[in-house]
Structure formats: structure tokens, C-alpha cells
Symmetry: C2
Amino acid sequence: MEDFQVGLIGFGTIGAGVVRLLRENEYVIKKRFGRRIRLKKIADIDVTTPRGVDVPDGVLTTDVNEILNDPGIKVVIELVGGYEPAKSFVLTAISNGKHIVTANKALLATHGAEIFNAANEKNVGIGFEASVGGTIPVIKTLKESLAANNITSFLGIMNGTCNYILSTMTEKGGDFSEVLKKAKKLGFAEADATFDIEGIDTAHKLAISVSLAYGKNVKLDAIYREGISKITQNDIEFARELGYRVKLLAIAIERGDAVEARIHPTMIPHDHLLSSVNSNFNAFHFNGDASGPVFLYGQGAGMMPTASAVVSDIIDIGRDCRTGISGRVPLRSFQEDDIDDVTFLPMDDIVTNYYLRFSAVDRPGVLSKISGILGTHHISIASVIQKGRKKEGAVPVVMTTHEAREKNMRQALEEIDKLDIVLDKTVLIRIENGALV
Amino acid sequence: MEDFQVGLIGFGTIGAGVVRLLRENEYVIKKRFGRRIRLKKIADIDVTTPRGVDVPDGVLTTDVNEILNDPGIKVVIELVGGYEPAKSFVLTAISNGKHIVTANKALLATHGAEIFNAANEKNVGIGFEASVGGTIPVIKTLKESLAANNITSFLGIMNGTCNYILSTMTEKGGDFSEVLKKAKKLGFAEADATFDIEGIDTAHKLAISVSLAYGKNVKLDAIYREGISKITQNDIEFARELGYRVKLLAIAIERGDAVEARIHPTMIPHDHLLSSVNSNFNAFHFNGDASGPVFLYGQGAGMMPTASAVVSDIIDIGRDCRTGISGRVPLRSFQEDDIDDVTFLPMDDIVTNYYLRFSAVDRPGVLSKISGILGTHHISIASVIQKGRKKEGAVPVVMTTHEAREKNMRQALEEIDKLDIVLDKTVLIRIENGALV
């Protein structure tokens, strides 16, 4: 049978990984797929930098049109990243009848509807397993393995940089800024890490996942998001004492016709599987109404793990091409007619448990004052830690609460932070128990 | 679009779960699949016992031919279990051009080649996600998500009964026989639990997984297998002290052209994800040469989790039917021409770490005698625990070893167990480190 021809746009780390994987595992891929995958062309603006992989003469080009206009090329692998020119490349390829495989979460989270609509019109496939959770089969699990389920909730550690930083702070100590420095040195964080540590990358992945889990158009900006830069070693230590670990979690919960979606540092029970996800690993914890919990774990990024997801998508689309079909599985998991705009539950209305760290003067009556205000706002206290004695300055008073409404919490903290016995803004970290069962 | 018609043979717990799931989640299934799944007929020899689900008039029958011969029924769901008459039902359905969805691991592990060949001849699909790991997408991950990888190893906790017993012994104490009694009471073990506790059920699942991971015909009996009935609270405690947990692991490791496959109680590091798999949960830890570790976790059995896998397979096959194709993904993961007989590495040749518990008299020179014999057989000791003093009878001497060859270990223990200072057969539990990275 003739080779299955694909073209690659973007010859960076992941691109080089795809080249290497197609070469090194050619034999096993052919034994499973039944055809050889031939990487016919690779386009990049930079064709001189060595990428650590051999490329036959004539394959490398600076002219992307050699891929976009080649009728022999069935699949275009877009690994340029970002919005433009990636978006134009993808849309041109689609309009030329080519299938797409991409790892570009930013593009799909922002312009997904436009791209999926274009693909549906031209009856081409879009493989994007690599865009969420790297090598972990998140997309396939949502679209296929859990297809018979209502997804009642899912929680994910979706960003390796954040997880590396928080795990290291937990295991080896150190404050955020010094651990971030170390992460950069080790290649676990980019020089400008804003995108990761502020949860923007996580938001892209959550937007895509919510869209697949619930059949919804998702506005990225509507997802509540807090990064990890304010997490202190202090809070990590108190979390440990309370039996928790701090993780940057992306959380989605079905709330009737609405979806609760939020990204923030979260305390989770230390003996939950998500707490054992260390270093730069990612993990996803789904709850289906029939399946019960399904937990998936692996490398969310990196050269070869991401290449593994990219090539599995090429094979998936290649299997459609081989049998002469397309649209076997809806691109966005649900039938297009059934997809509508998501309604997110307003943050004011979420109900969860809280960890609060007050910076209070060490004076009799402080605890009663704080707990009094919490009580007025229908917030009941689950535990209190108060340590140390200080003549001057603040001492930390740590509380965890039973379930409370975010709006009440916000109002209570506004009042508390105005008290003259409270010297600094109260630290709030949400605790997740419910959706983790 | 017209309903997708399926027939169910076997109206037990899982069968009732399928009926319930198709009814309760009809709406979300239709939104994903695009068609309604209509359960046209249910056949069982017993049509009088209440199953806790409503079945419309005319659907229930004692005559399996009403399903096997109905030209409108596209998929036959086989939930009879065991070898016969399940096998005959399946083969007849196939020869009538019907696709199969089954949870029957015993049937596939024993007669898989015959059934898959028949299916290939008639161009029908066989969905068997529910046969390994229940609701966990093990089959899809092996056949599709990791398709670009050489699977260098995989390890699994594949039996909920064993995991419940070992987890309970670890967390709450108690000896094997009393915990088994409790498991039976709670419905986590059958009245005759031999099948589970001797690792036979696990062997079925490992045989199926090995066949998919390596493209091999597997002889079930050739898989080395030890059950958990000899595990004592004593060993659980020593494991804890050494930083391990005891699990019944199914292990497969690629060894050149051979495969190392074995099932036995195994000590694994307490901080590994597999050690956090408690109660009756299952988990699978794959290592792909590109993907790195991929860990999957969920319910390996039970009414609704298994039904979730069964219905996801119906949808998968339904998607093929809808687009008018079959054979999109090879039934056994590899192209049929590429499948050959597996060569298992002889147990004598495996190399692993060991935990040994000697029942020795408490007398000077015992340790030197034992370690001397181990040394003669090229086995070096990693740690020793010796506790308690006893005037009469045996004291436990516990050792862990560095990597050693099984054959050497067997020979050494034969010599040691003949010593007059050793009063009972030495307990051996293998330790897994290597394949867990």
C-alpha cells in the first residue's frame, strides 16, 4: 500500500520529535497502521539551525505553500504555535481539503469554533490530542471512551511548570521566586513564565476540555483564573499540617444547565491521587455518572511525549483516510447542531471549602472578632491553627471553613481586612473535596 | 436518522446496567453519537427474576435466535460470560454479519484468535474495552493512543477483589482469610473466590493486553502466575517498614524479541501512584518509548462502570456502521499479517529485586550462613531486618536483595531451606522498581 503523505509546518522541538518518532518507530507504526507515514515536506522560516534530526534533501523548505498546495499531502501538522500565522496556515490547509493535526491549544481555545466550522464544511478531520495533556489520552477519553456518560465533573493538573514549582516548594522547600528561578534553569519554565504561572495555558486547556465534555462554545475570558505566584512556603506548610497539598487545579463541575469552571491554587487531600502528581507531570480526574472516577496521568509536554500524541492523531486520521471516510467522531465530541454557548456559573455563586490565613495582631479577642464576622456571613469554621506569640507585628491565624458561598466569603473578607487588628490582606486558598470523590 | 439496533445476550448485573445506562443517558448519548441506540431484544434463560430495570413488553426473550437471526440488529452484546454457550453465540452472531461487544475476558484470552479470525473474515468489529480494566480505557489506549510507541513495559492492578483484600490488610490489618471473609460479605469477592485470588482473572486480562501491546498470539497457560493467598499480615508489615506496599501486579516487559510476563504479589515503592490504588480499584501503568509513563485508573468492574465501557464500544462500532466501514482499527491492534506467536522469557531468566523472609532459629551465625549461600549464587543483599529474640522456635529474618536472576534465587533458596537452622519454607516476594520509572 502506498505511503501516507504528511507535511509539517514548524520545525521546533516538538516538530523535531515528530521527525524522530516517525523514523525511529517506523516499523511498529507500520505494523499497527498498515501503511508507512511519509513526512514529505517540513516548512519553517529557519532552515539552518540544527534540530538534532536528519532530514533528507529536498524535504526542508521555507515556503509553506509547498505543503499547503501539495495535493499528495493528506495531513498538515501545525506546530507553529500561537495565533498568526498558524491560524492562516490551518484555514488554508482546510480549504485545500487537508486534515489537520495540531498541538496549538491557544489557537483552538480562541478560534476553535471558526476552525472546526471550516473543517466540518470541508469534511476534514482535526486531531488535537497533543493540545491538552500532551501524551495523556484526554481528548480521546472525552470524545470516545466516556461517550456514554454525563461528565459530572473533572479536575486537572494541566500545566507542568506550575506543578513542578508547587511540588518542589512542597518537597524541598523554598519560596516561589527562587523555585521559579530553578525551574527556568532546568528548562521546566520559559524565560517569561507569565503564560504558565498565571494559569493562561491552563485556561486554554480547560476551555477545550469543557467544550468537549459539555458540547459548548466557550469564551476563554469567562473562565475564572488565579495563578500561583502568590503561594508562599508558609501556606504550603500549613496545608501539609492540615493534610492537604497545594496544586494549580483546573476545575469543571456540571451545575444543571450551567458549568462551574475555575482555575486557581487548590488544597486537595494529601492521599488523593492528584496529590501524588509530582514534578512536571499532568493528570486529569474525570467523574462520569456511569463510569465513576477515571484518572489519567502522564507527561503534559516535552519533545517525545507530545510527538507520541501528534503521531497517534496522524494514525487516527490516516485510518479514516484509508477507509475513505471523515466525520466519524464529531470534531467537538457532540453533534454540531447540539452545540450551544456555555453558561458559566458566576464565581459569586460557587460553594466550596476555604483555607484562610489572617495576618492578625496577637491580642485577646482577635479570634472572636474574625469568627464573628465569618458567622454573620454564614461561614462556619472547620479548624483553626494559631501559633507563635509576637509582641509586635502580625501572627498568622489559619482557618479552614465548611462549605460556604464565594460571595459571602468575599464580603466577609472585605470586612475583616478593614479591621485594625488585621495587618495584611487575608490569604484565601480554596479546598476541594466534593468533586474528588 | 433511524435508531441503531442492538441485542443483548445475558441479563445479569452488567446487562441490567447496560439497559439502565441506555435509558438514563439516552439524551447525552444521542447528542454525541447522533443516533438513538435501541435495545431491541434481550435474551436470557431466566426472564422472571427482577433485574431492577424496566424492560418494554416483547423485548425479553429466552430464545437467543431472536437476536442472532434478526437482520435489523447490528451489534450483539455478549454478557453471558464463560466459554460456552457464549462462544457459540459470538461465532454465530459473527457468521450472521453482526458486530460484537463483549466483556468476556475468559473467552477472548482463551479463544481470541479463533474469534478475531472469524470477525476479520466477516468484516465485523469486536468491542472488548470492558474485558480489561472495566471502565478504564485500556484497550483504546493500547490500540490507538499509544499506536506510535513501542510499549517497553506495562504493569497493572487488574483485579479488584485482590486489591481490596491487600489494601484492607495494609490499611486495617487482619490476616488474609478474615479479610477475604469480609470481602465476600461486602460483595467484593465471590463465594468461590479462587478465580480472583489465584490470579486467573488477572491472567486473562494480561494475556489480552500482551496480545494488543506486542501483536502476539498468547497462550494463557504460559504466563507465570502466583496468587495472593499466601500473603500474611507479617509480610505486609515488613513491606511497610521497607517503604513498600504489596499489590497483585500483572507485569509485562519487552525483552528484545521476547516478552517477560508474570503475575504475582509484588512490593512497589509506597510513593508510586500504583501504591495509592486502594479498595477495589484497578490501574494500569504503561511505558511507551516515546510517551514515557502513562497511568490510567478507575473501576475495573461493577454494574455501571462496566456498562459505560460496553456502551462506549457500541457507539464506537456504531460510528463505523454509520460511515459504512469496518476494520478501521485492526481488531488486535496490529495488522493480522504481522501477528505471530509470543515468546515468553522463561521465569528462570528474569532479573528482579527480592524480599525474603526466613524463619530461622535465633542463634549466632545464622545470618552469615544464609548470606553466604546467597553470595555463592551471585545474590547480593540490599537490607536486613532482624528483630525479636526467641529462645525456641523461629524468628523472622527479612532481607531485600539487589537485582538477581530468578534461577539463582531458586537454587539458593533450595539450599537455604534445607539448612537445619531454617525451620520453615522461606517466603519470597518480588520487588518492582525498574519498570515503574
